[in-house]
Amino acid sequence: MLAFVIRRLAQAFFVVVAMVVLVFFGTYVIGDPVWMMVPGDATQEQVEEVRRTFGFDQPVYMQFLTFLGDVLRGEFGRSYVHGSSAIGLILDRMPATLELALAALVLAIVIGLPLGLFAGLKPDHPASRGIMAVSILGFSLPTFWVGLMLIMLFSVMLGWLPATGRGPTMVILGIETSLFSLEGWRHLFLPALNLALLKISLVIRLTRSGAREASLQDYVKFARAKGLSPRRIIGVHILKNIMIPIVTVLGLEFGSLVAFSVVTETIFAWPGMGKLLLEAIQRLDRPLIVGYVMVVVLLFVTINLIVDILYSALDPRVRLTGSQS
């Protein structure tokens, strides 16, 4: 188990390095950030001045080595635009995004799992067909459009929920959060639902196919032959078996919820990392982009690790070892 974790962390290190190299040179190729930083009527001298200040006059490999040196000293670069530490900026915005992603994940499970179970256990019921039809919509409708429709319906026409922003936040254990006030929840609900929509559909389909498969297994028939109640058979025998693929997929999807909350954050003006990234890309703010990529890669690696550990808790046949199997 320990060997497994160490091995995973070593792998993670190389993934982070590879991503950083790729993104660093990638953003270098895209364009010269100086033009985003100087006013339009700046003289050539002013431009050169800015170049020297930020080290853009150096060849790219020198810039990279400087960057690596900074990283080794624990300094991940300063945002060109904001002037402050890039990682600091990202970490400042991270709670908002994590909060949104977490809420979306919870919605996906709370809504998706029961609906999927129902559809899987009663495949011929008209409601099941309805659920499956709606889940196709969930898959195919574009997130931004659904977001706009949600705003139109709940904020503009009905006026039930606020359309934008995060609402009041509180600092709990050093983390800024809106999870502890009703107003915060009111702000969170629409963007979380918007972000969750695709995942709800995913969970419904996964649960349904899992439940259909599991309910035909001999162990379910044997459980029935023991005289167990349907509640126990579904809640323990079937659910524990189908949780394995669901946890795997949701774990991976949580990473993508964080990484791709960009669209939802933009529509609902949610002050998260995604919005920060979008601005950074528009302004070629390299330290911020590289920092964002590092954070997201680390997040993915951590989630994968947690999923693997959960896996062994769910499926006794899986034992985590340091060697490849």
């Binding site: 162990y219 023991k226 524990k240 006794p316």
Partner: protein
């Protein structure tokens, strides 16, 4: 004879598929006396497993029991609600399945699966249920049951898992156990161990057995009586010695003749030509007629009636195997 534990009368279980009605079980009648072992023999698709599941009330759509009666200790089971059946299942009526690799839930520990079987029918504490589980495991010959209880099914061998399944089936001392080919998936050594074990345990607790199998050797060693199924019907039944020594139905005769142990070495083994008919399209007469060496014109006219003999001997054939050929 005492009142039978199980009396199946004219049972018909049909599956209503898109391609038509499949009459998996069509007019099956038999009884099982207390403590008796009935061997239910037949090829794959002869309806023997469906008969077992019908008794358990575990026939799922598109299948349905269309007619007949199943009485357990005199009480009718056909037509009961699911909740009423649940009270019977596992308590007075238990089942062991074919593949021990599949019957235990792979993600639940043995103790969970045994304790829930106890607690499904008795309101007892976890500790009491656990004690019962330990006893049951010890009873089926699993060494150090206390420790093995917290293992997962994949840590057990096939034979051990089948022992666990048998322990679960026996846990409420049921009046009847339906064993659906429980030794087919095991190797021969384990098979004979399990057979001896089950025989002993059932004799001890007075549990009757319906042993579904296609293996005549198993039936010969285990059963008191045997019922031979073909295409959803029982074609011949009687005491095991009578039926095996002197089969009356040509199908039984063919089955016995095709067991290698009986044949002269070097001689060609007897075989039944053709294969089991599709249950959706049975011939109008005797279902075995197209494959039967003794078929006569009247066989095609209609299903042969049940002929009764002494000591519960019964067969469905209008041209039975004569004594000199059967020997």
């Amino acid at each position: 004879m005492a009142e039978p534990v199980l009396a199946v009368d004219n049972l018909a279980t049909h599956f209503f598929t898109r391609d038509g009605v499949v009459k998996s079980v069509d007019g099956v009648s038999f009884t099982v006396a207390p403590g008796e072992v009935l061997g239910l023999v037949g090829e794959s698709g002869s309806g023997k497993s469906v008969t077992g599941f019908s008794i358990m009330g575990l026939i799922d759509p598109p299948g349905r029991i269309v007619s007949g009666s199943i009485r357990l200790k005199g009480e009718e089971l056909v037509g009961r609600t699911e909740a009423e059946m649940r009270a019977v299942r596992g308590r007075s009526l238990a089942m062991i399945f074919q593949d021990p690799m599949m019957t235990l839930n792979p993600v639940l520990r043995i103790d969970t699966q045994m304790m829930e079987a106890v607690q499904a029918h008795e309101k007892v504490s976890d500790k009491a249920a656990r004690d019962r589980a330990v006893q049951a495991l010890a009873q089926v010959g699993i060494p150090s049951p206390e420790e093995r209880l917290s293992a997962y099914p994949h840590q057990f061998s096939g034979g051990m898992r089948q022992r666990v399944a048998i322990a679960i089936a026996l846990i409420h001392r049921p009046a009847l156990i339906i064993a659906d080919e429980p030794t087919t998936a095991l190797d021969v050594t384990i098979q004979s161990q399990i057979l001896a074990e089950v025989q002993k345990l059932c004799a001890e607790s007075g549990t009757a057995l319906v042993w579904i199998t296609h293996d005549l050797a198993v039936v010969a060693g285990l059963a008191d009586r045997v019922a031979v199924m073909y295409a959803g019907r029982i074609v011949e039944q009687g005491l095991v010695d009578h039926v095996l020594d002197r089969p009356l139905h040509p199908y039984t005769h063919g089955l016995i003749g095709s067991v290698p142990g009986e044949a002269m070495p070097g001689k060609r083994l007897m075989q039944i030509p053709g294969s089991t008919p599709s249950l959706g399209r049975l011939p109008p007469g005797c279902a075995f007629e197209p494959r039967c060496s003794r078929a006569v014109e009247t066989c095609r006219a209609g299903a042969p009636p049940l002929a009764q003999g002494s000591q519960g001997r019964a067969y469905r054939c209008i041209n039975p195997v004569p004594a000199e050929e059967a020997a």
